[in-house]
């Protein structure tokens, strides 16, 4: 029995002519113990897919089986409980509560599970130790570096011992060194038996995955099984973002259309990649 099974899952936003298809009949099976990297341009439905798998969102159509249990139409409190017990979320923007210390943030899911304060403290402390932040136990998020903050978030995701870790661009806001730290941590979690799903725009990070999926327009275009430590075959050819005009282009008089045509040409020059990634980062809020 597969851990995650999606059958013709669609997610639509809006009505009538304004309907926006975020997921277009996605059928997908993820086995226990996989580490899946999801790539694709902004707005291709990666985040929506994560939200549906993570039970944050209902699919509009189709079925979703989590651990063989039909989960697409569960009520909000059942979904909340499944999120609490089975799924750990890691976000690009960390999403820690600024008013709570690192340990209180980590202990929060335990609070919702109804653990005693003592047990919460003990487990949360152990988790912080596991992510290497035991000396930052009582720091507030604003006192931590980006990498440390994300590690606290990872500790929080792990604290209920979930089967699935879902990370939506976990390194999107981090520098290279912190990214590596966070990804090593995820790899370690994967090694200890968890199923990990992560969204990334960085082809290099697909090295940590056993499977790479490329999405576009709400569909999975390629689904590739690969050994650990190898960059995905199509990772460098993912098209980021819709054609858009850029300040530099306007100054140079290059039209957006020309730019788009240029980009659609098969051979991507590595030198251009940095600029494009910057654009993607800028657009991150709009991912649907």
């Amino acid at each position: 029995m597969a851990l995650i099974e999606l059958k013709d899952v669609s997610k639509l936003y809006g009505f009538g002519d304004a309907t926006n298809v975020a997921l277009d009949e996605v059928t997908l099976t993820i086995e226990k113990g996989e580490c899946v990297a999801v790539m694709g341009p902004s707005g291709c439905g990666k985040s929506t897919l994560m939200n549906v798998i993570g039970l944050l969102d209902h699919p509009s159509h189709g079925d979703y089986y989590l651990n063989g249990r039909r989960s697409a139409r569960l009520g909000s409190s059942q979904r909340a409980k499944l999120r609490r017990d089975k799924i750990g979320f890691i976000f690009q923007s960390f999403n820690l509560l600024g008013r709570l210390t690192a340990i209180d943030n980590v202990a929060l899911p335990l609070l919702y599970k109804g653990k005693s304060p003592l047990a919460r403290h003990k487990i949360a402390r152990a988790m912080l130790e596991r992510v290497g932040l035991h000396d930052r136990t009582y720091y507030y998020p604003h006192q931590l570096s980006g990498g440390q903050t994300q590690c606290v978030a990872i500790a929080r995701a792990l604290v209920n011992d979930p089967e699935i870790i879902i990370a939506d661009e976990p390194t999107g806001n981090l520098d290279t060194e912190s990214s590596r730290l966070v990804m090593e941590l995820l790899a370690e979690i994967h090694k200890s038996g968890n199923t990990v799903l992560f969204v990334t725009h960085n082809p290099e990070l697909t090295r940590y995955a056993t499977r790479v999926m490329y999405m576009q327009d709400g569909m999975i275009k390629h689904d590739e099984q690969k050994p650990l430590g190898v960059v995905g075959r199509y990772a460098h050819t993912v098209i980021y973002g819709e054609p858009e005009s850029h300040e530099d282009d306007d100054i140079a008089g290059v039209s957006a259309l020309m730019k788009a045509r240029e980009r659609n040409e098969p051979a991507e020059k590595p030198a251009r990649k940095t600029t494009k990634r910057r654009k993607t980062t800028k657009k991150r809020g709009g991912t649907k």
């Binding site: 944050l56 409190s77 979320f89 999403n95 008013r99 919702y112």
Partner: protein, 403 residues
């Protein structure tokens, strides 16, 4: 509902970190609690003070007053001014002949300035007969009441006017001049309970002077504004009052120009005032609680809007709607409780200050001291629940996207 399990502590933390906003919210509750407690306690105090007037004369005394009088406005020193003066010494004689009557004395206000060590221009001079002393509960502090003799140039002073007239706090044996005559201070009364919101004259400011002396001095009969009639022990008071009334009406040739009331009921207007005051209290209390509740609701709405993102995070990591609801209700509960406690403290401070600096003597009414904060907490939680429900129903995705 179980709102413990860290929710209260989280709520307290949340309130502590947003002190200013929480204080504003609390203010509504505090004002509500203070308003209710103070108004009820003051009302009760006034009631008690008015009750003490019965004690002033004793409960076997009825008061006869002319009906066509112009009453003074509520207040201490004013004396009802008899306009038509239907009460005369003859009436007193008539009343005295009733078998159940033990004693009857006239009270009459006369004008004229008084000079002791200092001059008092518009004193309250009450002309009465020596028997008046037997009607009065507070005994004399010094000396004695004047004796029954026509040419007695003696006065008895209220406790407060002493300091207006004399440098000495015990002016026994000193003299004062009134209408060109020298009077000897025979006695000084102990302090009378000065009732606020009462049409009673304040005897503390009064100079008591023998009725006959004044009559001889002015050559006319001073107009009587009030006759006190004491019944013999064991008399049925309502029936007694009726018989006094009937006797007087008969002797006035059938004119219903006097009113007889039990001494405790002298301020019938005051009773009505008190009833209105109680109603006013109730209205003020309800308004205060509603305002406090709406204040909490507004603040909770602001809190919810400000924290949509936080709600999203909490839901993403597994908080159920019910748990979010509990958290926000816990916050409303803690804010209301703190507000209620501060409110009770402030109300006690207010009662203390009123006792110290005004003639109001608020009485701590324990039931309201307990009920007011409980109602405040209940309304706080009730009004806090509405935004809490709104918070709990937020869609996690939309909440997470909200910055």
């Amino acid at each position: 509902m179980n709102i413990s399990n860290g929710n209260l502590r989280l709520a307290y933390e949340s309130i502590r970190t947003t002190k200013f906003r929480s204080t504003l919210t609390m203010l509504g509750i505090i004002i509500g609690v203070v308003a209710v407690i103070l108004v009820v306690c003051i009302g009760e105090g006034v009631k008690r003070q008015i009750g003490q007037q019965v004690v002033r004369y004793g409960d076997n005394v009825v008061v006869v007053r002319p009906l066509s009088e112009h009453r003074g406005i509520l207040g201490g020193d004013s004396v009802p001014v008899g306009a038509a003066a239907p009460l005369t010494l003859k009436d007193i004689e008539t009343v005295r002949r009733l078998p159940a009557v033990a004693a009857a004395v006239p009270l009459s206000s006369v004008s004229g300035s008084i000079k002791g060590d200092r001059q008092v221009n518009t004193p309250l001079v009450i002309a009465t007969t020596p028997e008046f002393a037997t009607f009065i509960k507070p005994q004399l502090k010094y000396g004695g009441f004047f004796e029954a003799s026509q040419d007695a140039n003696q006065v008895v002073l209220g406790s407060k006017i002493v300091s207006d007239l004399y440098n000495d706090s015990m002016p026994l044996g000193q003299t004062l001049s009134y209408r060109g005559q020298e009077f000897l201070v025979a006695g000084v009364f102990k302090n009378f309970n000065a009732p606020p919101l009462s049409i009673e004259s304040n005897f503390n400011n009064a100079v008591f002077i023998p009725y006959d002396t004044v009559r001889n001095l002015t050559g006319v009969e001073p107009s009587i504004y009030e006759v006190l009639v004491r019944a013999k022990p064991g008399t049925n008071m309502p029936a007694f009052a009726r018989s006094v009334q009937a006797t007087l009406v008969q002797s006035h040739g059938g004119a219903e120009d006097v009113a007889v009331s039990a001494a405790g009921k002298t301020g019938s207007g005051t009773d009505q005032t008190l009833r209105l005051l109680t109603l006013l209290t109730m209205a003020a209390a309800v308004i205060a609680f509603v305002v406090g509740g709406v204040g909490i609701m507004n603040m909770m709405f602001v809190t919810v809007t400000e924290r949509i993102h936080e709600i999203g995070i909490r839901k993403a990591i597994g908080a159920t709607n019910r748990q979010i609801l509990k958290q926000f209700i816990a916050e409303a509960f803690v804010i209301s409780c703190l507000g209620a406690v501060y409110g009770v403290v402030a109300a006690f401070a207010g009662i203390g200050l009123l006792r110290l600096y005004t003639s109001l003597q608020p009485i701590v009414v324990w039931p309201i001291v307990i009920i007011a904060p409980l109602v405040a907490i209940a309304s706080g939680v009730l009004f806090g629940s509405i935004p809490a429900i709104k918070a709990a129903r937020k869609d996690p995705i939309q909440a997470l996207r909200h910055e």
